[in-house]
Structures are given as structure tokens and as C-alpha cells.
């Protein structure tokens, strides 16, 4: 009994240590964003918001932010359309290729991202397509589709087909059934999938590097600034802002779909079957 208690105490100690490991670095970044000094040294002597001001007025940061938002919005819309079409199709289908379709959709995030980047880059080079916001959107949509797909198909699998049959039996037209039965049932899954796709796109750097050319999305600006090492206090601020901004869609998505979001976020990497 005593040993059992000890084991349990040890397990919880481990849990607390892992929690510290998970959150420590993120907290460190946030704390340093309020440090006046150019060079990060502990303890912090002067607290300031001035770097937030600098970042806010930085034209490059602003342009990068706008490009990221535009690309993420477009990729989200495309992913919503293509991902939910795929989910409806696969859900209805009773054909042998079902699993193949699931596998295909998951592939862009099951393989290392750099593969998607190089593959798209070689296609654009071969076809003579200049890198632009559209090439960024194509790359992002390709790996965002699966997030929407996962959310919608998880919901469809959990929804009984009798609901649609009842609607039809009671004389509803097809469009009425879709408008009043299907859509309300999958609405939160759609919103949640869209939010996750947006967050995924907004944060992406590995694929984007190969599809953006000379343009800066916000992550590419951050990556460049870290490597140059000249605007590090500003990087702290921008990175903190990104973390906070990304929390919003994630929390909303989690509220809307509960554990579905969770399984889908392990598909920030894949989940195809449940």
C-alpha cells in the first residue's frame, strides 16, 4: 500500500515536471518580450512595452502580417470547400478506394513538410510559374484540407443517418434537409476545422519557404530575423503576439468540438480512422 502511494506520488511529480517542460519555454518568451535590454540577460532589470511599439510600427512586420492573413484566409476557404466535399464523399462511399482517399489526404502531413515544399517548388519551376501569393496558397491548402476533412468526417460518422431519412420521410426537399438538418449538425465541425486550418496556415514556415520566393509571410519574417540576429527584442514581441493570436482560434475550436478537435490536432499531424 505504501509502495503504491509512493508510485502514485512519483507519477504526479513526473506530470508536474512535464507540464513545466511544456510551458516553461513559452513563458520565457513572453517574459523576455517585456525586457528593455537589447541583450537577454537574467534577471530582467527594466520592464517595458516599448518593443511592442517598435514592432507595431515596423512596416515589414505589418506587410508580412497582412500577407499571412490573406494567404491563411484563402487557404482556409479552399480547404473548407475541398475538405468537406471529400468528407461527404468518403462518408457516403462504399467503394474499395475509401482508405486510399483518406491516405492521400493525410500524405502532405505524414511525409516531412520539406518534401511537399520541394515537390511544389520543382513543379512551379518546371511549369514556369512565378512564386506569388497564389503559390503560397496552393501549398497551404494542400496540407490544410486534411484538418477540415478530419473534423467533418468525425462528425458525420457520429451522426445517425436516420436523421436525414426522417427529414426526407417527413417531406422535406433535399435542400431543406441540407439547410435545416445537415448544416446545423456539421456547423461547429466546419467552424472548428476552418479555425484549425487557419491557425495551421498562419504558422507554417517549412513549406512556405519553398513556395513564397522573395515574399515574407510573418513566420518567414520571424525566421529571417532570428537568423540575422539583429532585431531579437522585436522577434520576442512578434512571436509572443503570434502565440496569443493563435490561442484564440484554437480555444474556440476546442470549445466547439471538444475531443474531436483534439483528435484532429494530433493531425496537426494525421488521424484518419477512429
Amino acid at each position: 500500500m505504501k509502495r503504491r502511494l509512493l508510485a502514485r506520488g512519483g507519477l504526479w511529480l513526473w506530470v508536474w515536471a512535464v507540464l513545466a517542460f511544456l510551458f516553461g519555454p513559452i513563458i520565457t518568451i513572453v517574459v523576455f518580450s517585456f525586457d528593455r535590454s537589447n541583450i537577454e540577460t537574467l534577471p530582467i532589470r527594466n520592464w517595458t512595452l516599448s518593443w511592442y511599439q517598435v514592432a507595431w510600427h515596423d512596416e515589414q512586420v505589418r506587410q508580412a502580417f497582412v500577407l499571412s492573413i490573406k494567404a491563411a484566409c484563402a487557404a482556409t476557404v479552399l480547404a473548407l470547400i475541398l475538405g468537406s466535399l471529400a468528407a461527404f464523399g468518403v462518408h457516403r462511399a462504399r467503394f474499395f478506394g475509401r482508405d486510399t482517399v483518406s491516405l492521400l489526404l493525410v500524405l502532405p502531413i505524414a511525409l516531412p513538410g520539406i518534401i511537399t515544399g520541394v515537390a511544389l517548388n520543382s513543379t512551379f519551376a518546371w511549369a514556369g510559374i512565378a512564386l506569388s501569393i497564389w503559390t503560397i496558397i496552393i501549398g497551404h491548402t494542400t496540407f490544410c484540407i486534411v484538418v477540415v476533412y478530419n473534423n467533418v468526417i468525425a462528425r458525420l460518422r457520429r451522426t445517425s443517418a436516420t436523421l436525414f431519412e426522417a427529414s426526407a420521410d417527413l417531406g422535406a426537399s433535399t435542400s431543406q434537409t441540407f439547410r435545416f438538418v445537415t448544416l446545423p449538425l456539421i456547423a461547429t465541425a466546419l467552424v472548428s476545422g476552418g479555425l484549425l486550418a487557419f491557425a495551421l496556415s498562419f504558422d507554417e514556415v517549412i513549406v512556405t519557404t519553398f513556395t513564397a520566393g522573395a515574399q515574407n509571410t510573418l513566420p518567414i519574417w520571424i525566421f529571417g530575423a532570428i537568423r540575422l540576429g539583429q532585431q531579437l527584442p522585436e522577434v520576442n514581441v512578434v512571436v509572443t503576439a503570434v502565440v496569443v493570436l493563435m490561442l484564440i482560434p484554437i480555444i474556440i475550436a476546442a470549445r466547439l468540438t471538444g475531443r474531436d478537435t483534439f483528435s484532429a490536432s494530433s493531425t496537426r499531424v494525421p488521424t484518419n480512422q477512429s
Binding site: R92, T116, A125, T142, P219, F223, I226, S265
Partner: protein, 304 residues
């Protein structure tokens, strides 16, 4: 091309009622095709064909004088990969990916176990959120944070000094890469592991202890085998993500920290040698395909 339209055609044929059974089945098949065509078209035209083209590009070469790509098949790129510094880079990447995977598995297992089998429902929900939030926090932020922690005047050295210990000075080393990778991929290991542990029926554990097994024996011979698919599923993520990463080495790595991803990046974006970059890209693909085939035998796909 909106989903509503696709569905309505499907419902039309389904709820029409008057048509014969065969024609409605046919209609359903057409409806499915109608739904699946746009996403599949996107994937085949933009993604699969790109992958194929990349594989072909790997057998092209760069004209040394003009810098243009010569569309003539040659195995020269693969000869180049098999020599010089590349085998060492590939080995370093695979070893690091394996180390990160093992570390994550060790760190994640007790945590996932508590989440799945010890915590109350409320605590379980909180712990889920606690894994979910870092998983979705900005990727670059998570890597960059480690500079602030590991650099010479960073948080880690500072803490060690105040505890009266010697400074570990981990900044910009391969050790820093290992720590950072372990950190950024940890949630990807916890999630599938938690799923697998949660699915184990409690009756099995009861049976094991009723039959006189010690908790250690139960862990070793009941829990671990049943958690294995989750463990393998998590390892697919940690391994694959490390294999293709080039950002972490550039931010927290030091000398001799070049990984396959960096070699691809340099050849393509700095050197303009697309064929060599494409050839290098086949290395992670080959490794991952082999890994996935092994993982499939462990039943990991059901836990993904």
C-alpha cells in the same frame, strides 16, 4: 462547386423514392463521384504529380556552365549523395531522429498513463488542454524560446549558477537540437499514447492483479503491449518531423549540426541545384516508407 450543391444532388436521387433501386444506387455513385472529384483533382494535379515530377527531377542534372536544368536522365545526383559529406549528414539525422523519438517516448509514457488511467475526469480534461495548447502554439516561438534558455547568459545557465552548479553551456550544440526537438514534438507523442492507454479495458488490469500479478508485471506484460500501437503512432510523428526539419538546426544548432533538411534547403535555395535537392528529398521519403511499413505491422495506423 459548393458542398451544398453536391449534397443536394445526392439527396435528390436518394429521396426521390420513385426510381428503381438500381437507378438510385447509380445516382448515389454519381453523387459520390461529384463530391470527390474536386478534392481528388486538386490532390492529383497539384500534389501527386508534383511528387512524381520531383522524383523525375532527381534524375536530371544541372548544367555547370549555364546553371540550367538538363532534362536528361542520369544517376549522378545519387552518386553524389553516396559520397562526400552526405552519408554523415544522413546518419546524423537518423540518429538524432531516433534519439528524439526514444526520449519523447520515455517522457510521454508516465504522463499519458496518468492522463488516461489515474487522473479524475476533470484533471484529465485539464491535462488534455495542457497538451493541446503547446501543440498549437507557434512552431517558431517554441524553437526560438530555447535560445533564450540555452544561450550563455540564458535562463538555464542562470538557474544552474544560482543553485551553485556549473553552467551546462548547451547553447548552439547538437545537444541543444536534441533538447529542442524533444520539446517541440513531445505533444505529438503524448496524444496517440494517451488514446491507446485510454482504450485499454480496466477489466484486463483487474484480471491481471486478481490473478496475482504485481503492478510491475501488469505494466510490463499487459499495459505496454496494448499501448504499443500508440507508441509506434507517436514515433511516426516524432521521427518524420525530425527527419525533414531544417529550421531547428539553423536556430539552435551549432557547428556540425547540418541535417538532411538543411542539405536540401541549401542546395535548392542557396545553390539553385533543384535536381540534387530533389534527389536528397528521396532519402527521407525512402526512410519514412520503410518506417511506415514496419509501423503498419505493429497496428499503429489504427492509433494515428
Amino acid at each position: 462547386m459548393d458542398p451544398a450543391h453536391g449534397v443536394s444532388t445526392l439527396e435528390d436521387t436518394k429521396s426521390g423514392g420513385t426510381g428503381s433501386l438500381r437507378s438510385s444506387a447509380l445516382g448515389q455513385r454519381w453523387g459520390t463521384a461529384f463530391l470527390l472529384t474536386p478534392p481528388l483533382l486538386w490532390f492529383f494535379v497539384l500534389y501527386v504529380s508534383s511528387l512524381v515530377l520531383m522524383l523525375i527531377t532527381a534524375f536530371w542534372s544541372l548544367n555547370g556552365f549555364t546553371g540550367n536544368v538538363t532534362h536528361q536522365l542520369t544517376g549522378a545526383n545519387f552518386h553524389q549523395i553516396a559520397s562526400g559529406s552526405y552519408p554523415a549528414i544522413i546518419e546524423r539525422t537518423v540518429v538524432l531522429a531516433a534519439l528524439v523519438t526514444v526520449t519523447d517516448a520515455i517522457v510521454a509514457f508516465p504522463f499519458a498513463y496518468v492522463m488516461a488511467r489515474v487522473a479524475t475526469q476533470r484533471a484529465q480534461r485539464l491535462l488534455l488542454v495542457a497538451v493541446l495548447l503547446p501543440l498549437w502554439a507557434s512552431y517558431l516561438a517554441k524553437i526560438y524560446a530555447w535560445i533564450s534558455i540555452l544561450e550563455r547568459g540564458g535562463a538555464l545557465n542562470w538557474t544552474f549558477q544560482h543553485l551553485g552548479l556549473p553552467s551546462p553551456n548547451l547553447g548552439f550544440t547538437n545537444g541543444a537540437m536534441w533538447l529542442t526537438f524533444t520539446y517541440i514534438w513531445l505533444p505529438y507523442m503524448i496524444v496517440p499514447l494517451f488514446g491507446a492507454l485510454e482504450r485499454i479495458p480496466g477489466s484486463l488490469l483487474d484480471a491481471s492483479s486478481d490473478l496475482g500479478a504485481s503492478s510491475w508485471w501488469t505494466l510490463r506484460h499487459v499495459v505496454l503491449p496494448l499501448a504499443l500501437p500508440g507508441l509506434v503512432a507517436g514515433s511516426i510523428f516524432t521521427f518524420s518531423l525530425t527527419l525533414g526539419d531544417y529550421v531547428t538546426p539553423l536556430i539552435v544548432g551549432g557547428a556540425n549540426s547540418t541535417l538532411i533538411g538543411n542539405a536540401i534547403y541549401q542546395n535548392l535555395l542557396d545553390g539553385g541545384n533543384l535536381p540534387l535537392a530533389a534527389a536528397l528529398s528521396t532519402v527521407p521519403i525512402a526512410i519514412m516508407v520503410a518506417y511506415l511499413l514496419v509501423a503498419k505491422r505493429f497496428g499503429a495506423f489504427e492509433s494515428l
